[in-house]
């Protein structure tokens, strides 16, 4: 695909997408921004309040706590899933019958509806009927994620690792299998150690794929809602109430539109930032390696 001709008639192809997505994105987003700068008592009495709601939200201690918890959650999840994913990918056999079986096994958690993941872990970790819960208690740790915040946190992280590490593993595996066999052969002939093979042959190839994995995981974990809602409902207390959870309660529950709208806009801006990083890292046209044409 060396040259893409410039052709504005191409807009015809893009119009339907624009209409549909604009209908479900632009109009609602405008209403959110609209609400975020007004105080609305009822339909016909609303007046402009400028950035008050933003200031209020940013100073709202519950927002800051929820934001802190969200960042802690996302970082801890990433810190586990990325290295674990690479290790799992390196453990996978490159070809042979076992490869496709293992790939499908790894893909299963990614295909389970998010709420069912919450349900599975809810059943699995309960201290009365759960294999994990009962097991841990047998070992003498008074484990109860419904009452103890730390236990709740650990269970949440364990669940997310269970749910999403496979994505990192599959992406890393795709990166590893894109290494032409000649590189491994050259390294072996050089007498490179296993560590040197990983650092000088595999890592340069993994770089691009890992950026995608990190950013995808960061964005998805940053807006997580369903699994914590099912597992802990944000409890005990609001020990595990993250941003989406807090915004959902504010927006639907108490109906104070202004702060909820401001909160939404702030939240969306964060996601926009991650998107921009993801877009620039993915769309850079890195020069493809010429594989040499197989002649016949």
């Amino acid at each position: 695909m060396i040259n893409k001709p410039y052709n504005n008639r191409a807009w015809l192809g893009v119009l339907p997408v624009l209409l549909i997505v604009a209908f479900s994105a632009v109009i609602p987003l405008m209403t959110v921004v609209n609400y975020s700068v007004q105080d609305i008592l009822d339909f016909n009495s609303r007046f402009y309040v400028g950035l008050d709601w933003y200031r209020e939200t940013l100073q709202d201690p519950r927002f800051i706590e929820a934001f802190g918890r969200q960042v802690l959650f996302s970082l801890s999840v990433l810190a586990i899933e990325i290295p674990l994913g690479i290790l799992v990918a390196r453990g996978l056999p490159k070809n042979g019958a076992w490869t496709s079986v293992l790939l499908i096994l790894l893909a299963i958690p990614l295909l389970i509806p998010w709420n069912v993941v919450g349900t599975i872990w809810q059943i699995y970790a309960r201290s009365d009927i759960g294999l994990l819960g009962v097991g841990l208690n047998e070992l003498g740790l008074a484990f109860n994620y419904t009452s103890n915040p730390t236990h709740a946190w650990l269970t949440l992280i364990a669940m997310d690792v269970w749910h999403w590490t496979s994505l990192v593993a599959l992406l890393a595996f795709a990166g590893l299998t894109s290494v032409p066999p000649a590189y491994y052969q050259a390294a072996e002939l050089d007498g490179a150690s296993k560590w040197q093979v990983f650092r000088y042959v595999e890592m340069p190839r993994l770089g691009g794929v890992l950026v995608i994995a990190v950013l995808l995981r960061l964005m998805d974990s940053f807006m997580i809602y369903t699994e914590p809602f099912v597992l802990t409902g944000g409890g005990p207390g609001n020990a595990t109430t993250f941003l989406s959870q807090y915004l959902a309660t504010m927006a639907v529950g108490q109906f104070d539109l202004g702060p909820a709208a401001a909160f939404s806009v702030i939240y969306f801006l964060f996601i926009l930032l991650f998107c921009w990083i993801f877009y620039n890292s993915v769309m850079v046209e890195d020069a493809e390696e010429p594989e040499g044409q197989r002649r016949d």
């Binding site: 695909m1 893409k4 001709p5 410039y6 191409a10 015809l12 192809g13 893009v14 997408v17 479900s24 109009i27 609602p28 987003l29 209403t31 959110v32 674990l84 290790l87 799992v88 390196r90 453990g91 496709s100 790939l103 096994l105 893909a107 299963i108 990614l110 295909l111 389970i112 509806p113 998010w114 709420n115 069912v116 349900t119 599975i120 059943i123 009927i129 294999l131 994990l132 269970w162 496979s166 593993a169 599959l170 992406l171 595996f173 795709a174 794929v209 995808l216 807006m223 809602y225 099912v230 915004l247 927006a251 639907v252 939404s264 939240y267 969306f268 996601i271 921009w276 993801f278 993915v282």
Partner: protein
């Protein structure tokens, strides 16, 4: 290094399978049996819970409702995304990069942000509690997702194929439907799968935009959580049933699965 990673792989697979095993055992035991005594291997498994789901209208209607809007959403997304992805992969045009990026921001947008406006929008145009409402709302992420994945696959097909068709004398329509789409059937398969999964899985918007008439399975499952006197067996069975379609379909799209997850960027 590889021996360590081989051990990590084995350990992780066990870690992966245990909860699934537990879900299956729970689904095969009646609620009283579960709360009765703790067993690792069920002594008297029964299929009562599954029977309950298939007989109780609340459950199977919920499955039906979910399927309703999910299929609708998937069809809309794929029909709309195909021409757009073709155009993104073949041409440069005014604002193409910005539009492509804007689509990405919608795929990544937290549903919570759109909760409030959607609720107002759809109720104001009288679409509340209809499958179309949730289908259209989910288009917010399934359409961008489809465009990105399809564009990733389509830019793998050399543009000489398009030019060859032109020179052979085929009209664009003939080329698009009889040559281009068959070449990309693998990509379309995996895109359909991802739209289906994303729409099937989403809870927040589905719960907000549906009332009693079109209550989807995701809502039924989470609603029973908060009620006291919870029937674990039935819940586990329902969970197991929702896992099945994923596993069945994954076999067909396994070749392109990873590329799909990476939004076509691998």
């Amino acid at each position: 290094m590889t021996s360590v990673s081989r051990w990590v792989l084995v350990a992780y697979c066990i870690y992966l399978l245990l909860p699934l095993y537990w879900l299956m055992t729970m689904a095969l035991r009646s609620n009283s049996d579960i709360t009765g005594q703790f067993e690792v291997i069920p002594s008297n498994p029964t299929l009562a819970n599954f029977a309950e789901i298939f007989s109780n209208p609340v459950w199977y209607q919920a499955f039906g409702n979910s399927l309703n809007y999910v299929v609708l959403n998937t069809l809309i997304s794929i029909c709309v995304a195909l021409p757009a992805a073709y155009v993104f992969s073949r041409y440069r045009f005014l604002g193409d990069r910005q539009l492509f990026f804007w689509l990405l921001t919608n795929r990544m947008a937290p549903p919570a942000v759109f909760l409030l406006p959607f609720f107002q929008l759809y109720s104001s145009i009288g679409l509340f509690d209809t499958p179309l409402a949730v289908a259209l709302a989910h288009c917010l992420f399934t359409v961008p997702l489809s465009v990105w994945i399809l564009e990733g696959f389509m830019s793998g097909v050399p543009s000489e194929v398009d030019e060859m068709a032109k020179i052979d004398g085929h009209s664009f329509i003939y080329f698009f439907f009889r040559i281009f789409i068959p070449i990309n059937r693998g990509a379309i398969g995996v895109t359909l799968f991802f739209c289906f999964m994303f729409s099937w899985v989403e809870l927040l918007l589905a719960r907000t935009l549906t009332g009693s008439v079109t209550k989807p399975i995701v809502v039924v499952m989470t609603r029973t959580v908060s009620a006291s006197g919870l029937d674990w067996g039935v819940l586990a069975a329902a969970g197991a049933l929702t896992v099945v379609p994923g596993i069945v379909v994954v076999w067909f799209v396994r070749k392109h699965l990873v590329k799909g997850f990476a939004l076509g960027r691998v």
